[in-house]
C-alpha cells in the first residue's frame, strides 16, 4: 500500500533563524495492504510531517512516495484532492469536525467534493447514518458535534474518514484526547474495521497500547526510521 524511499523534507525558516530545517532525512519503509502500522517517535521527530506527506496534504518533498500505486509528488492539486477524497481517510487528534453542521452532514462532507458523479442528498445521508451505526453512534443522528463526548467525536471523525470506503486510513494521535476507556474502544474499533473491510491503517501515536496492537511499528528518530517491526516485538 505504501512504499517510501529516501523521503526528505525540510522547512524554510524565516527571521533570525532563516534557513532550512530538515525534518525527514531519508525515510524508508513499506506498509502492506490491510496492515495496521503505527508510526511512533518523540515530539518533533517528523511523525506529523510524514503523515501530511502520506495524506497528500503536502507534496513538497524529495524521494519516492507511492501510496496505492500513486506517486504523490507527481500529482496535480486536483489529483491530490481526488486522492484525499477517495483513496484515503483522515482521523485527527483534535477530531476536526465542523460544529455548525449536523453529525450526518459532517460524515457526508467528503461527498460534497466528489468529482466522479454526485450523490443525491438522500443517498449521502443514508450512507452517513449507516456509518454512524457502524462506529456505534447511531443514537447521535441529528445531533451537533458539540453535544458529543470526546470518544463519540472521534467515532464521528472515523465515520467521516470511512465515507468513500478508503484504502488507507491515516490517523494522527487518534486517542490523544481521550480517556483510557474511550481510547481502548477506539483501538478496538480500528481493529474491527481493518478485519471487516481490509482497510490499511497508518496511525501516528504516542500511545504504547496502539503500538502494541499494530502489525508494524515504524519509529522515527531525528528524521530517519530507526526501527520497523511488529508491534509486540517492538514493545518487547
Amino acid at each position: 500500500m505504501i512504499r517510501a524511499r529516501g523521503i526528505r523534507k525540510s522547512y524554510r525558516l524565516a527571521g533570525a533563524r532563516a534557513g532550512e530545517l530538515p525534518v525527514l532525512r531519508g525515510v524508508d519503509f513499506d506498509v502492506e495492504d490491510g496492515e495496521f502500522a503505527a508510526v511512533i517517535g518523540r515530539s518533533g521527530s517528523g511523525k506529523s510531517t510524514l503523515l501530511a506527506l502520506l495524506g497528500g496534504l503536502d507534496s513538497d518533498y524529495s524521494g519516492e512516495l507511492k501510496v496505492a500505486g500513486k506517486d504523490l509528488r507527481t500529482l496535480s492539486d486536483a489529483e491530490l484532492s481526488a486522492y484525499r477524497n477517495a483513496t484515503i481517510g483522515f482521523v485527527f487528534q483534535a477530531f476536526h469536525l465542523l460544529d455548525h453542521l449536523s453529525c450526518e452532514d459532517n460524515v457526508a462532507l467528503p461527498a460534497l467534493f466528489r468529482v466522479d458523479g454526485k450523490e443525491s442528498k438522500e443517498a449521502r445521508l443514508t450512507r452517513a447514518r449507516e456509518l454512524m451505526d457502524t462506529v456505534g453512534i447511531a443514537d447521535k443522528i441529528g445531533a451537533r458535534p458539540g453535544t458529543l463526548s470526546g470518544g463519540q467525536k472521534q467515532r464521528l471523525a472515523i465515520a467521516r474518514a470511512l465515507y468513500h470506503r478508503p484504502k488507507l486510513l491515516i490517523c494522527d494521535e487518534p486517542t490523544g484526547n481521550l480517556d483510557s476507556a474511550s481510547a481502548a474502544a477506539i483501538i478496538a474499533l480500528f481493529r474491527r474495521l481493518r478485519d471487516e473491510s481490509g482497510v490499511t491503517l497508518t496511525i501516528v501515536t504516542h500511545d504504547p497500547t496502539i503500538a502494541a496492537a499494530a502489525d508494524r511499528v515504524i519509529e522515527i528518530r531525528d528524521g530517519v526510521v530507526e526501527l520497523a517491526g511488529g508491534g509486540e516485538e517492538v514493545q518487547a
Binding site: S48, T49, L51, A52, G55, L57, D58, D77, A78, S81, A82, R84, N85, A86, F90, F92, A94, H96, L97, L98, H100, L101, D105, L109, P110, A111, L112, F113, R114, K118, K121, R160, Y163, D172
Partner: protein
C-alpha cells in the same frame, strides 16, 4: 456546484452577523446607485418621452432664407411631398414615416363653456397628422379618422341633435347658409403639454379650475375655417365644423389642435390648389431604437433634408451627465464597501482556517475553496443588493409622496420621478454581487493557498 451551495448556505447562516455588518456599506452604496439610476431613468422618461420624444425625428425641407429687416424671405420651397416621404422610408433604422400638414387657411374656434363656464373665441393653430401615428396610443384613437366629405354627401335637415344618427350633431351646413343639417363631428387630439401649461400656470393666473384630462374627452368646439380675427386674412367663404376631442397625445401640436391629415388636406385644397393635398410641412420619422437616432438623423441630412432640433439632444446629454456623476459617486461608495468586504473576508478566512483545512483534507480542491468563498461573497452581495434596491425604492416612494403633497404643481410634474426597470434591478444586483466577489477575491485566493497540513497537524 449544488453540493458546494449547501456549504455556502451553511457558512452564510453561521457567519450571519459578520456578513450583516460587512454588507452595510454595500447596502448604502447600492441604494444610492439604484436611487440615482432610477431617478435619471425617470427624469429621462419624462423629458425625452414627453417633452422631447427621442424615438422620433421631425424632418422639414431644407430652408434657405434671406433676412430683409424684420422679415425673413424664403428662397426655396418649404414643403415636402410624397416623394420625400418615400425617400425617408428607405433610410435604414426608420420604423415609420408620418407626414404632418399645417392648415394654410385661418380658423377660429368658439367654445369652452362646458369647461370654464364661458365661451372663448380664439384663433386656432391646426396641424394634421397621419392617424396611424397615434393608433393605439389612447383609448379613443380609433375615432381619430377623417370624416366623410360633406360636399360629397346630401345633408339631412334637422332641428335638434336627437333627430340625427348617433355620433352626429345638428348644426350649420358645411358651407353655411340657412337651416340646420346633421353633421359629423371632426375628431381632434390635443397635446398633454397644453393641459400641463394650463394646470401649471394659466389656471392660477385666471383663477380657473384644475382640469382632468379624462373629463375633457368628448368636449366639443365650434370651428370656422377661413375666419380670422385679423380682417385682412379672412377668406371670402367660411366652412363650419364642430370639433370633438377624442384624446391626448404628445404627437399632437404643442399649442393648438390636431386633426386627421386628410381632414386638413381637404381644407387646404378647398382654400388653395389640388396639389395642396400632398404638400406636407414636416414628416415625423419614427426610429427603430433610440440608439439609432444620430445615425438616422445623419442619413436624413445627407438626403438633403433638415432635422428639427427640439433640444432633445442637449436634454439627453444633461441627464446622462447627471446620471453619470451620481453613478460614479455611488460606485465609489460601493468600492469602499468592497474594501470593507475584503477585510471581513480576510478575517473570516483566518478564523476559518481549520474548517478550510478540514475541507481540503476530505478532498476539496483549491478551486472548490475559492468557489465557496466567492459564492459566499456573491450571496452577500445579492442579499445586500436586494436590500439596497428595496431601500432605494422605499426612498423613491417617500420622495414622490413629498413631491405630490408639498411641491406646487408645475408643467410636466410627474406622478413619479423614478423608473425602476427589471434591467436596473438586475444591474444593481449584479453590481453588488460583482463588487463583493471582487472584494473577496484576494481572501479567497489566500484561503485556497492555505497549507492544510500546517492547520490540521498544528505544525
Amino acid at each position: 456546484m449544488s453540493s458546494l451551495g449547501a456549504i455556502v448556505r451553511g457558512n452564510l447562516r453561521n457567519n450571519a452577523v459578520h456578513f450583516a455588518l460587512a454588507s452595510v456599506g454595500v447596502i448604502v452604496g447600492i441604494a444610492a446607485f439604484a436611487f440615482f439610476l432610477a431617478l435619471g431613468a425617470g427624469v429621462r422618461e419624462v423629458v425625452l418621452g414627453k417633452i422631447f420624444p427621442l424615438d422620433q425625428l421631425e424632418v422639414i425641407a431644407k430652408s434657405m432664407t434671406l433676412d430683409v429687416g424684420p422679415v425673413s424671405l424664403g428662397l426655396a420651397s418649404d414643403v415636402l411631398d410624397e416623394k420625400a416621404a418615400e425617400q425617408l422610408r428607405g433610410v435604414a433604422g426608420v420604423r415609420g414615416v408620418y407626414p404632418k400638414m399645417k392648415l394654410t387657411a385661418p380658423a377660429i374656434g368658439l367654445g369652452g363653456k362646458q369647461i370654464i363656464g364661458n365661451d372663448i373665441r380664439t384663433e386656432l393653430i391646426i396641424d394634421g397628422v397621419d392617424p396611424a401615428l397615434v393608433q393605439g396610443e389612447f383609448s379613443g384613437s380609433d375615432q381619430f379618422r377623417v370624416v366623410p366629405d360633406p360636399l360629397a354627401t346630401t345633408p339631412t335637415a334637422c332641428a335638434a341633435d336627437s333627430a340625427c344618427p348617433k355620433d352626429m350633431y345638428c348644426g350649420k351646413p358645411y358651407r353655411g347658409g340657412p337651416g340646420k343639417v346633421c353633421r359629423d363631428y371632426v375628431p381632434v387630439i390635443a397635446s398633454p403639454h397644453m393641459l400641463e401649461i394650463y394646470n401649471g400656470s394659466l389656471r392660477r393666473a385666471y383663477n380657473l379650475p384644475r382640469l382632468n384630462p379624462d373629463f375633457l374627452i368628448g368636449v366639443t368646439l365650434d370651428m370656422q375655417v377661413g375666419a380670422s380675427m385679423v380682417q385682412a386674412a379672412e377668406k371670402d367663404e367660411l366652412l363650419y365644423e364642430k370639433l370633438k376631442l377624442v384624446g391626448f397625445s404628445d404627437k399632437a401640436v404643442p399649442l393648438g389642435v390636431t386633426l386627421p391629415l386628410s381632414q386638413v388636406a381637404r381644407y387646404n385644397v378647398h382654400f388653395g390648389a389640388p396639389e395642396a393635398a400632398t404638400r406636407y410641412h414636416s414628416i415625423i420619422v419614427k426610429i427603430e431604437s433610440k440608439d439609432q437616432v444620430a445615425a438616422v438623423a445623419k442619413a436624413i441630412e445627407e438626403l438633403g433634408f433638415e432635422v428639427t432640433d427640439g433640444g432633445a439632444e442637449q436634454a439627453g446629454f444633461l441627464i446622462s451627465v447627471f446620471v453619470l456623476v451620481f453613478s460614479l459617486l455611488s460606485t465609489i461608495i460601493v468600492g469602499i464597501a468592497a474594501v470593507n468586504i475584503m477585510h471581513v473576508f480576510f478575517m473570516l478566512v483566518y478564523e476559518r482556517q481549520r474548517e478550510i483545512g478540514i475541507m481540503r483534507a476530505v478532498g476539496a480542491r483549491r478551486s472548490d475553496i475559492q468557489r465557496i468563498i466567492l459564492g459566499e461573497a456573491a450571496c452577500v452581495g445579492l442579499i445586500a443588493g436586494a436590500i439596497g434596491v428595496g431601500l432605494a425604492y422605499a426612498t423613491s416612494r417617500v420622495f414622490d409622496y413629498v413631491s405630490a403633497q408639498h411641491l406646487p404643481d408645475f408643467p410636466y410634474k410627474p406622478e413619479t420621478y423614478f423608473a425602476f426597470s427589471v434591467d436596473l434591478v438586475a444591474l444593481a444586483l449584479g453590481f453588488a454581487a460583482g463588487f463583493c466577489v471582487l472584494g473577496a477575491w484576494l481572501p479567497a485566493r489566500r484561503a485556497a493557498r492555505m497549507d492544510p497540513a500546517a492547520v490540521l497537524t498544528g505544525r
